[in-house]
Subunit: 337 residues, 2 copies
């Protein structure tokens, strides 16, 4: 009894030239598409997240109010619900799942939005982290369709430092011999736990740890936070899925496609949507400086850092009520404009 829908993409050809046969795009919707089809919000998922993990920002009285808006949460390719290493039949399964890009993801989402729902305008695209990257991608790939964007704690192009962080995650995961170059039958738990510990220092900021704010989340000690939050988080994920999404992230660039041919500033300049760009002020891998540069190249964008010590997790998934309110308020303001 699944609580979401599958859009059959058919033979989906990736930017890299692979064909995922009978490709799937999993999605969930909230609210009702109105007659004018002008109440649409698209809200892509983040690294390792599924649509369930996006729901903290949806609710009555919030900006993303299903009473007013038709909210579509498309699951990113590789996340275990849409086509992924873990659910694609041989021969494109496991280690052979092809790299998919922001362009691939948003092309698939565009087909869903237009072919299934006949939507021509999107009031808002919004997302956290890799969801923010897809948000930027929507703005650059379909500028005439997207009226507003609100990417938070993410960038339009993965920075070199961010790439290095991802190398470290990958190295820790794949150092486990049980990973078997991706052909494991049992999960490489040691590698998943190592990856979790690597992620831990990056996900939250120095002041978050200095103030031991993990206690506010209900963890009894630092080690409890590392085991119960971090290791628990990644142990539930499939290693190849994590690496598939990591590939997407490392290759994240809204200009790496036939429309912009690598001209990043041109891609940014094409985003005519009204934008509020919200980095976490203490985010260690999507630092505000990269967004500041992006906003300076966008015609209709505002740079508005989230004044938070929660690092990357200022943006989600709804851990900290103060930051949730900050983001929700900005979305209300943007939707009202």
């Amino acid at each position: 009894m699944k609580d979401y829908q599958i859009f059959e993409l058919g033979d989906f050809v990736t930017q890299g030239g692979a064909t995922i046969r009978d490709a799937k795009l999993a999605y969930k919707t909230f609210g009702t598409l109105n007659e004018a089809k002008d109440n649409v919000i698209v809200y892509p998922t983040w690294y390792s997240g599924q649509h369930y993990d996006n729901e903290w920002l949806v609710g009555e009285g919030m900006a993303l109010d299903p009473e007013k808006y038709f909210i579509i949460i498309p699951n990113m390719l590789g996340n275990g619900l849409s086509s992924s290493p873990s659910n694609t039949p041989a021969p494109y399964d496991q280690a052979r799942f092809p790299g998919t890009t922001l362009y691939d993801n948003v092309s698939a989402q565009h087909r869903l939005v237009t072919e299934v729902f006949g939507i021509e305008k999107i009031a808002l695209v919004v997302g956290w982290s890799m969801g923010a990257q897809q948000t930027y991608q929507w703005g650059a790939q379909y500028p005439d369709m997207v009226e507003r964007i609100a990417p938070f704690c993410g960038s339009a192009k993965t920075s070199v430092h961010n790439f290095v962080f991802l190398e470290s995650v990958k190295a820790a995961l794949t150092a486990d011999v049980a990973f078997e170059h991706g052909w494991y039958e049992k999960p490489p738990t040691k590698g998943l736990r190592a990856m979790a510990r690597v992620y831990a220092g990056w996900g939250f900021s120095q002041p978050f740890y200095r103030q031991e704010l993990f206690r506010e989340l209900g963890y009894s000690s630092l080690e409890d936070f590392l085991v119960a939050f971090w290791e628990g988080f990644f142990l539930e994920r499939d290693a190849n899925n994590l690496l598939a999404m990591l590939w997407t992230w490392q290759n994240g660039d809204i200009s790496a496609n036939p429309i912009y041919n690598g001209d990043f500033e041109k891609a940014l300049g094409s985003i005519t949507a009204k934008a509020i760009v919200m980095p976490g002020a203490t985010d260690l891998y999507f630092p505000p400086e990269d967004n500041e540069y992006e906003v300076s190249n966008m015609p209709n964008a505002e740079f508005r850092p989230i004044p938070s010590v929660w690092g990357h997790f200022a943006g989600g998934p709804g851990l900290n009520p103060v930051d949730v309110t900050f983001i929700d308020d900005a979305l209300k303001e943007l939707l009202a404009s």
Copy 2:
């Protein structure tokens, strides 16, 4: 034909209650101890470094001028030259090498300085990173002996976030099955390489990577930097030695000893030495904020960040001439006062 000396510590009892029999403290000196014995500088080593790796700050015309000063570089326990997992005979070899603390290290160094050289006053203790931690430890453990300290890119107590960073390094290294719980016969190269990639994102800052300053160091691409600089660096080290020093680091706290019984502010307050404390402005694991707090609790200290985008490597090992000059100038000023 070794170019350094060994001080025989005899049966060295650690804070934790282990006895390292026939313990060794390796050291190298530069310059000549004068008659008054008042020209002494102690310059401890850093994580994984040996005295060779400290020499960039020593030289004619520099603050640490062997023509004027008698400079002692003691090698940290665990670094492969002083007693370490790699050179201690069974049964305290490899995985059984005991944890050694800042207190243990500085106690051993104090014996060297007093028993071998009859020194009563030290003009300056100076060090980078874990060398800075030992520098703070000298100031708190022997306040009547130490006239000046200059810790750079290090803290008097390892912060919670820094501890998490070290957990990530350890998890990556030990995820390699070849590590064999420390009982390897061949080096766990996959783990050492994974550890190197984890370290890479932390060692240098986001702007360092944004500006691709690794090219200034002679690396032809990011991947070349990751392989040739980072993996090359750690592949030369012994895994158990790295973990021994990591243990020292994770337990770094100048008040965790019988003198201060965990009263950190009291330990800081006892450092009467004139101090210039120099964090790297963009250091990700020894961020300036921790030093700022420390300095506010020290009676005779100045907080002077190194205005650099080189992250932790603003402090060493001599990679960037501008930062070297900044540090050297501060040391000259401190020694002249």
